[in-house]
């Protein structure tokens, strides 16, 4: 998706309005949201749906930051700055989910704390 050439920045001048461009982006976002909602009801493989949902959200995400938040027209440094936080947060979430998803982290049910009989369920 590349922006129309006309809206490239031209230093020192009023920029051409991005009015219509923004509206187009918003429409795309709305459509993607619609697709997402429909997707969860489709009888497709779970993995496929998850993959698609994640991809679609990522696309929405990128549209908003690059166009609405005009990272695309700003200095590269803003993108770097934001992505430091974003990637670190993503990495941390990923790690946490893996840590808690591991077998060692299956929580004890409250009963098993007291009753040794329930131990067998854990081991």
């Amino acid at each position: 998706m590349s922006a129309p050439a006309a809206i490239q920045p031209a230093a020192g001048h009023h920029e051409p309005s991005k009015f219509h461009f923004y509206i187009q982006i918003a429409m795309i976002l709305a459509v993607i949201t619609g697709v997402e909602v429909v997707l969860i009801y489709l009888p497709l493989a779970k993995g496929l749906v998850i993959g698609t949902l994640v991809t679609l959200s990522a696309v929405k995400f990128l549209f908003v930051i690059f166009y609405f938040m005009h990272l695309r027209w700003d200095k590269m440094f803003c993108t770097i700055l934001f992505f430091i936080g974003l990637i670190l947060a993503g990495f941390t979430m990923f790690a946490l989910l893996h840590l808690f998803g591991a077998d060692a982290s299956k929580p004890l049910s409250a009963a098993a704390i007291q009753l040794p009989a329930a131990m067998t369920a854990v081991v």
């Binding site: 941390t92 060692a104 409250a110």
Partner: protein
């Protein structure tokens, strides 16, 4: 040229001289109480940070001495178990959040604008706000002590949950008293202060550099401050969330760490250490910066391997985000996770080692002048290396199973925190003292305090390695005489007293110097960076002309190109004067007022559900109205702050570049 000129403004594009609004007249006092609380001058703010931090360092040290006194002999009854628990909790919390962090913040404030050739930080009033918010946090954390002296203040003593406050000990069931609520809010507010301050420094360093000062010419200290600021803004949110969750658990019945509701206390540990480990690098990176400034100065040689040192600083910072679980090797994470975090932790040794090697490279072939700051800096390298080595021993997870929560850990982190961070801070205080107070600390006394501290420190903490290996657990208020720990503890306590004497000497000498010390010129150490090019103490506007930077060691360059620089400078002063003089930001009441609002709000928030009792009488059935009052005060102040705008005034210099006695008129 135009670019350089524009630099003198702190405001955004086109700070048209807006008429400000006058509910309170804008403060103008430069001295006196109001001068200090409304100041936006980064140097004054830095000094206040420094003063408070040193005060808390001494208080934290006093707490440490009480801890050591209790442990001097087995089965001692100097303090009760409860008081001991409060002591180590507050000792750790104080030293980390109220001593080392703000001392670093002090140096950020004092040095960054000057080192980058700016006249202030990017958002001066925000800077004032950070300071006072920090003070609010400090008050909330310590207010619990009062209940030991005034029984009607029912806080239940100072916080007693350990500096990392593991859930579920922090839940209402196990610590019903207010001290934990105050701890939660206190840390939260200190975090807020740090985030705001760090955002400010990030913008300052990235955006307000003098012409010619490229990132790869930035003094290493400033670089490390930048990395530290990034670590702060990225690490603190994790603990902010964790604290919110505890707060909700305690006050609103959520189940985040409530076991009966399905909560998993281990989540607190993860969130805490996601913050906590980067935090230790937040503590050590600025010290690495001081040392990187001091070593070259006293070796008469530029820093060896500048790009590598910078790069490894960044690497340490970011690898540091991937190792947090090494504090949790004993929580049963399973083999894979343990292995991954173990290896990642070891990896940190590599960039850290690179720094050590390059510091040695800096010394190599130089002419080492062992003045007091240099002694502390060299002490830093030795001691930090030792602390790092015991860190590596911890990183071997199975071995750590024996060391975790034992005195071996205490030994490790005091080597990195005192031998590392504190030594470097003491070096830095000594090094920059002449700059900000215009007086030189006497060498003899400086060196003497170094040696007492050095010996005392090692006597205190070296034996702790063996105490730990001999099975002494940490956070124990008493121990038995048959455990083989008697001699080690006795020795450590004696060492701690000696260390106390050393610290006392160090600060006593500073106080003496402040009043009576030998006056010194602008550049007592033959320094390399821009701060040494301006008068001691620096004038309010720092630079009569924003310098143009031509080389990495900017001031050394200036010294060898005097004529060229003088010419450049004269032209700049003239040009600036013709543009209306030096623009300085106005002082403001509102940062202080908003902090007061925050204090009132948070203090009452902590005891929301308790009745308000004044002189034994129930005045209000809950603290809600007071909490809301505080909140409203905070919001109103912020609004008025936004309305008043940065404004500012001009300073006009005479032909020699000296400010005249009177300030320029206000808009």
């Amino acid at each position: 040229m135009a670019k350089a000129l524009a630099k003198s403004s702190f405001t955004e594009v086109g700070h048209a001289p807006a008429k400000t609004f006058d509910l309170f007249p804008r403060p103008t006092a430069k001295t006196g109480l109001f001068g200090w609380i409304t100041t936006v001058d980064h140097k004054k703010i830095g000094m206040m940070y420094g003063g408070f931090a040193i005060l808390f360092f001494l208080i934290g040290g006093l707490e440490a001495l009480m801890i050591r006194t209790q442990l001097i002999v087995p089965n001692n009854h100097f303090v009760s178990a409860q008081l001991y628990n409060e002591l180590f909790t507050m000792h750790g919390t104080t030293m980390i959040f109220l001593a080392v962090m703000p001392l670093n913040a002090a140096f950020f404030n004092l040095l960054i604008p000057i080192q980058i050739g700016a006249r202030d930080v990017a958002f001066p009033r925000l800077n004032t706000f950070s300071l006072w918010v920090w003070v609010v946090g400090a008050i909330l954390l310590n207010v619990g002590w009062l209940s030991h002296f005034v029984p009607s203040w029912k806080f239940g003593g100072a916080p007693d949950v350990g500096w990392f406050g593991y859930a579920p000990l922090t839940s209402k069931v196990f610590t019903p008293d207010l001290s934990t609520d105050l701890w939660v809010l206190g840390i939260q507010i200190l975090g807020l202060s740090s985030i705001v301050a760090s955002l400010n420094f990030i913008v300052t360093i990235i955006n307000m550099r003098a012409p010619g000062l490229t990132m790869m010419r930035l003094p290493v200290f400033t670089w490390m401050a930048l990395v530290t600021s990034f670590l702060l803004i990225l690490a603190l949110p994790a603990i902010a969330i964790a604290l919110i969750e505890v707060m909700f658990d305690r006050n609103f019945g959520t189940n985040f760490f409530e076991v009966s509701g399905g909560g998993q206390p281990i989540l607190w540990q993860h969130l805490f250490w996601v913050f906590g480990h980067p935090e230790v690098y937040i503590l050590i990176l600025p010290p690495m910066g001081y040392v990187s400034e001091i070593l070259p100065t006293f070796s008469r040689k530029p820093l060896f391997g500048y790009p590598i040192i910078v790069f490894s600083g960044v690497a340490i910072g970011f690898i540091g985000f991937g190792v947090w679980s090494h504090h949790m090797f004993t929580t049963g994470m399973g083999t894979i996770a343990t292995a991954a975090f173990s290896i990642a932790t070891m990896a940190i040794a590599v960039p850290t080692g690179v720094k050590i090697f390059n510091w040695i490279g800096t010394l190599w072939g130089g002419r080492i002048v062992t003045r007091t700051p240099m002694m502390f800096a060299l002490g830093f390298i030795w001691m930090f290396m030792m602390g790092g080595m015991s860190g590596i021993m911890h990183s071997a997870a199975p071995a750590d199973a024996q060391q975790q929560d034992s005195y071996f850990v205490i030994a490790h982190f005091h080597y990195v925190l005192i031998g590392g961070a504190t030594f470097a801070l003491l070096a830095a205080i000594h090094f920059w003292f002449p700059k900000f107070f215009g007086r030189l600390v006497p060498e003899f006394w400086g060196k003497l305090s170094f040696w007492i501290i050095f010996v005392g420190f090692n006597c205190t903490f070296f034996p702790m390695h063996f105490l730990g290996l001999n099975g002494m657990p940490r956070r124990t208020w008493t121990y038995d005489s048959n455990m083989g720990w008697n001699e080690g503890n006795m020795f450590a306590t004696a060492g701690a007293y000696l260390l106390g004497v050393g610290i006392f000497t160090y600060f006593a000498v500073l106080v003496y110097t402040f009043f009576k010390g030998e006056k010194c010129g602008n550049d007592p150490w033959d320094g390399r960076t821009l701060e040494w090019s301006i008068p001691s103490p620096p004038p309010e506007h720092n630079f009569s002309a924003i310098p143009t930077v031509h080389a990495r060691d900017a001031f050394w360059y200036e010294k060898t190109h005097k004529a060229e620089i003088a010419q450049e400078k004269a032209a700049l002063i003239k040009a600036e004067e013709s543009h209306g003089g030096i623009h300085m930001p106005d002082q403001s009441w509102y940062p202080f007022f908003s902090a007061v609002g925050l204090l009132i709000g948070a203090y009452n928030m902590a005891q929301l559900h308790h009745p308000v009792i004044i002189m034994g009488k129930d005045v209000l059935s809950s603290h809600m109205p007071l909490a809301i009052t505080g909140g409203v005060m905070l919001l109103t102040s912020c609004y008025l702050w936004a309305l008043e705008g940065p404004a500012g005034y001009h300073i006009h210099l005479d032909a020699n570049g000296n400010p005249p006695d009177s300030h320029g008129g206000h808009y």
